[in-house]
Amino acid sequence: MVAISNDYYYIQSSNQHYYRFGEILESSELLDLFRGRSPAHVDLHAETSVDSDDTPVLQLPYQSRFARSQSRPALHAGIVMTAMDSAMGLATMLAMEELSSLATLELRYDELRPPQDEDGIFIKSHCDSIDDGIAYLTSTASDSSGIFARAVARFILTPGSTSFMEAAMAAINGEQS
């Protein structure tokens, strides 16, 4: 359990419950807070939810502005990678034992096939392990026909630096970050 800022907020990662002024925040609520605090996440117009096993799922609707070409109205790999990076960041947040800032070190994207035209996609991410400040993640992107892309990534954690979490929690309290 780690105190943040002025002791109003604290987090207990071991059972994935997050507290605010004595209230319990569900992990899905926490994920929405993170999504809402990042303009790049907001611009995706994605929905974030959490599976029964606490795996974050990011659903990205088809948007023509993100198409890969005028003749191929499927989501561009760039926006798929952006969504997968975000989803893996959220998976890391949920798996952390201790509050940390995090940053992507490396991301490997493999596209098995292009997504279906005008299909929305959903992304599942999993934090395989966190060892010595490095988080190891895997992610899949699926459309209505199944998995079309996979990604693996490594994130670096910086224990003691909770800037992102503080900004998110300040927003809950209506403070300006």
């Binding site: 992507t104 994207y109 596209e111």
Partner: protein, 137 residues
């Protein structure tokens, strides 16, 4: 094909606002001006890593279309991106893209992203693309 025509053919690249910055013997340099919608971490006001990923993908795609004179964007097979530093939203991001393997069906490309100093990269990546032939009528 000129770079701006290639950018216009890719809605994702167009909505990002990628512009041609320089033409080199070995490829092109593209520029992305900072916008608040690109912010990943509001606490440090940096570009989202995924935006940098997408920017480099587009830079390589446009370079392939222009150098190999392809009307259709190539289809990505894979991309490995290494992040070497945070990209501040106070400055534009530049991406230098080059072709490393101009194959008949498969093309390899490389991109480097930097801000104020080309020596201090914020990210680098390499990718493989599959060329897409326009269907004959």
């Amino acid at each position: 094909m000129i770079p701006q025509s290639a950018i216009d053919a890719i809605p994702y690249a167009e909505q990002l606002g990628i512009k041609l910055h320089d033409t080199l013997d070995s490829g092109f340099v593209f520029k992305l001006e900072p916008e608040s919608r690109f912010m990943g971490n509001p606490a440090i006001e940096a570009f989202h890593g995924g935006i940098i990923c997408g920017l480099m993908d587009c830079a390589m795609t446009v370079t392939i279309m222009c150098v190999l004179e392809k009307a259709e964007p190539p289809s990505i097979i894979n991309q490995t991106t290494s992040y070497l530093g945070s990209a501040s939203l106070q400055s534009p991001v530049y991406v230098r893209a080059e072709i490393t393997k101009p194959g008949r069906r498969i093309v390899g490309a490389y991109a480097r992203a930097y801000q104020d100093n080309e020596v201090h990269l914020v990210a680098k990546c390499s990718s493989l693309f599959k060329l897409v032939e326009r269907l004959r009528q």
